[in-house]
């Protein structure tokens, strides 16, 4: 897999956005729009909502570009974090509003999505061409999958518990311990 992102200077794009150059945001959108939308759709599972979030993320990036400090992290991580956290806040807010009805068709869709997600797991290579870094690799597969499902699919503790069959407390502890192990390994 070729890494298109490496051909693009995200930090320069943000600096130009901060100077008020519309074209810089457009270039950023051209380079990362499809990737951002892919990341957001996977979390919110609704195309219309996902496009709204990418719209909001672009405006956010534009407005906050001058607050990005390259000394504190990479521009690409910053850009994706803006979109991901808008998406995560949106689904946590939505889930809070929804009262589940067992006949609700949207719930069925979600269930199918989750089942699908967990079935493909067995055969699914999380690496997809990316290097599976050694720290994550050291985690037991079950815990690693919890962590990655949370990150990629935006699953809450409760959702992970429901769909792995593990008790909620266990899932919480797994994730916490996985994060501690990852941190130690990274240090």
């Amino acid at each position: 897999m070729t890494d298109v992102s490496s051909e693009f200077d995200h930090a320069a794009a943000l600096a130009n956005c901060a100077r008020g150059e519309h074209d810089a945001l457009h270039q950023l959108y051209v380079h990362e729009g499809a990737r951002l939308l892919g990341v957001v759709i996977r979390i919110v599972k609704d195309r219309g909502m996902a496009e709204d979030i990418v719209h909001d993320a672009c405006l956010n990036i534009w407005q906050r570009a001058d607050s990005f400090d390259p000394a504190k992290g990479s521009a690409r991580a910053w850009i994706f974090s803006v979109a991901r956290h808008l998406a995560l806040n949106a689904i946590r807010y939505r889930d809070r509003e929804v009262t589940f009805d067992s006949h609700d068709p949207t719930e069925l869709d979600l269930d199918e999505h989750f089942q699908h997600a967990f079935v493909v797991d067995e055969a699914f290579d999380w690496q997809t061409g990316q290097r599976m870094d050694s720290c994550l690799e050291e985690l037991e597969p079950e815990r690693r999958n919890c962590v990655l499902h949370a990150y990629v699919d935006g699953l809450s503790h409760a959702e992970i518990a429901a769909h792995t069959g593990a008790p909620l407390g266990t899932v919480k502890a797994w994730i916490k311990r996985s994060l501690l192990r990852l941190r130690e390994c990274m240090a």
């Binding site: 939308l37 892919g38 719209h55 504190k72 994706f80 807010y93 870094d133 990150y151 809450s156 994060l179």
Partner: protein, 253 residues
């Protein structure tokens, strides 16, 4: 081996909390609490960014999805309208606010309270024209908004939000409201495309207040305003938790 100090424990906890935030497993309340801390806590910021970097490569797991053709034009339009408003807002904020002529017409409003939304809206349009046209030469370019907040049960008007610009609003009571002991009215707004309502603070029954919306996107058509009954110190979660006492949507006039 020495026991880790309390401080180290806190660091450790915050680092894990930052990791859970980035993974996305926290509840909305926990997320909002952490986001509220971020601006003032550089160490927490650093921990969040470290996790962002850490997990970023795994965004490659997701398939790319080509946005629909109208998404970029939509972004561009939003960008242009934001900038146009920002340019207009700057000189405007330097001049003192216009006299609050609206208040002179309050008896009219109180009269309208029982008439329901349609009557109130018609009067709103008339009032707004009367108030703005002689004093404001920019009336044709500056959008004006009016919101009548109705009690959901009785559909009677309780408050009016009047906006003379997209960044400044005034909340005007049309009557009194009995707040139960230990409770308070909290004022909220939410644009169509926002993910969650934003608090505009607590409101005293019967008291008008004027608010600047500098931290928020410009007022838009159909933007929701509501007053909910919350604990006397405001909603504990940063989102509405109590019953809606008054609700209405902005109408451009």
């Amino acid at each position: 081996m020495t026991r880790p100090s309390q401080h180290e424990h806190e660091d450790e906890d915050d680092h894990t909390l930052a990791g859970e935030y980035v993974l996305g497993t926290l509840s909305l309340e926990q997320r909002k609490a952490l986001e509220a801390r971020l601006p003032n806590e550089p160490e927490l910021q650093q921990a969040v960014m470290a996790w962002e970097e850490r997990f970023l490569p795994y965004t490659a797991i997701t398939d790319q999805v080509t946005p629909s053709d109208n998404l970029w034009p939509r972004i561009e339009r939003s960008l242009a309208s934001r900038e146009a408003l920002a340019k207009r807002a700057r000189p405007a904020s330097a001049v003192p606010p216009r006299p609050r002529r609206m208040l002179h017409s309050l008896p009219l409003w109180r009269g309208a309270a029982g008439f329901g939304l349609a009557a109130a809206l018609v009067m709103g349009v008339m009032l707004a024209n009367e108030v703005t046209s002689p004093t404001s030469p920019t009336v044709s370019t500056t959008p004006e908004y009016m919101v009548v907040l109705l009690a959901p049960q009785t559909q009677s008007a309780g408050w009016v939000v009047q906006a003379s610009s997209r960044q400044e609003i005034e909340l005007i009571p049309l009557g009194t409201f009995e707040v139960p002991e230990g409770k308070a009215l909290e004022f909220w707004t939410k644009g169509d495309e926002w993910q969650a309502p934003v608090s505009l603070g607590l409101v005293e029954p019967g008291q008008p207040i004027r608010l600047r919306l500098d931290e928020l996107p410009p007022l838009e058509d159909n933007q929701l305003f509501e007053l909910t009954l919350e604990d006397e110190t405001g909603s504990p979660t940063g989102l509405p938790t109590g019953p809606i006492e008054f609700i209405g949507r902005a109408v451009e006039i």
